[in-house]
């Protein structure tokens, strides 16, 4: 017996993502999904963002982590609410997990929700969480070949952040290789060179975020 079906098996995630987005729209909250490899500086970026936009009490962070609550603890110090999603080995966040995290937050009075995805350059790429904008981040120590190697992470991104630019000279990093790859993968997203450590590029990042609220 053959049963013919046409079912998009990602529909569950996609409909949960749509619901999240509608819910956030109603509350007037902009959600930003930050994706990168482990160690690119997602949490550090948030540590610079919250004081940079004076978002204390005005934003929340949903942080995905395979194990431990270390990132959530760093976020708590910033004076913003955070919800930890411990995926226990799951390599990306899903829209349903984000929906459950939204249930635990009071959206009234928030301007932004930052979703710190699991550090992974493959799996988070294909899962819409209901965000309004997606950030794809990479950092200099990871090597200058990453955009070419993981194009699906960078292709749908609304902004691309290269962190730890203070190490470019130390590591003989070929910035041209990065911009060449980006020229083939995504010319729509602004490309921000940044060092959270030295502060380079932070102003451009904050300006980009402010633009999302308009």
């Amino acid at each position: 017996m053959k049963i013919s079906i046409v079912r998009n098996i990602l529909e569950v995630n996609e409909s949960a993502a749509r619901e999240n987005r509608e819910r956030l729209d109603r509350a007037g909250v902009v959600a930003v999904n930050i994706t990168s490899a482990p160690g690119s500086g997602k949490t550090s970026l948030l540590e610079a963002t919250v004081p940079g936009l004076s978002l204390e009490g005005m934003c929340a962070v949903i942080v995905g982590d395979l194990q431990t609550s270390r990132d959530a603890e760093r976020i708590a110090v910033l004076g913003v609410e955070s919800v930890q999603i411990n995926t226990e080995g799951g390599c990306h966040l899903t829209a349903s997990q984000v929906s459950a995290a939204l249930d635990r937050l009071d959206l009234d009075g928030l301007s932004f929700i930052f979703i710190e995805n699991i550090g992974n350059m493959v799996c988070p790429a294909g899962f819409d969480l209901g965000e309004h904008a997606r950030v794809a981040m990479l950092s200099v120590p990871e090597g200058d070949d990453k955009i070419g190697k993981y194009p699906t992470l960078f292709q749908p991104a609304d902004v691309i952040v290269l962190n730890k630019t203070d190490l470019i000279g130390v590591l003989d990093y070929d910035l041209n290789r990065v911009t060449d790859d980006l020229g083939r993968v995504n010319t729509r997203a602004p490309f921000l060179r940044m060092s959270v450590k030295t502060g380079e590029g932070i102003e451009a990042w904050l300006a980009w975020l402010r633009g999302l609220k308009v």
């Binding site: 017996m1 079906i5 749908p156």
Partner: protein, 130 residues
């Protein structure tokens, strides 16, 4: 290993499709997979094997057909086929592609063994109208 969450969703759809039918076992599961999804066939087989354990789909074969990526340039509107590492529009040279194909995973059919021995044609007829 996003194949695991794909396997979980696939199993959910299979259960939905066979619910209310007198199915002994699912022999084959056919699906189309867009290559943007970066599914590794062996990984999906392993993940599905684990998820299907103890269900009528335990031991079912996965027949996977891969679908190439197609895109539309947001800058100039032309349609083109991006390659694995290039989303460059051949007409205007911008890399600003909206992915129109090759981004979905679709369950297309199930081949099942029935419990009551009803004929295949009858059931195909029934499934088309359900």
């Amino acid at each position: 290993m996003h194949e695991m969450s794909i396997a979980v969703e696939l199993m959910r759809e299979i259960e939905r499709a066979i619910a209310g039918r007198d199915i002994e076992s699912v022999e084959e599961v056919s699906l189309t997979i867009g290559i943007m999804r970066q599914v590794v066939p062996e990984m999906l087989e392993t993940a599905f094997g684990a998820v299907a354990m103890g269900t009528p789909a335990e031991g079912a074969r996965l027949r996977m057909e891969f679908v190439a990526v197609a895109g539309r340039c947001r800058a100039c509107g032309s349609r083109f086929e991006p390659t694995a590492d290039s989303f460059l529009c051949p007409r205007c040279g911008q890399a600003d592609a909206e992915i129109t194909e090759g981004d979905d995973i679709v369950l297309t059919s199930l081949t099942c063994e029935e419990r009551n021995g009803a004929s295949e044609s009858e059931n195909q007829h029934r499934s088309q109208h359900s």
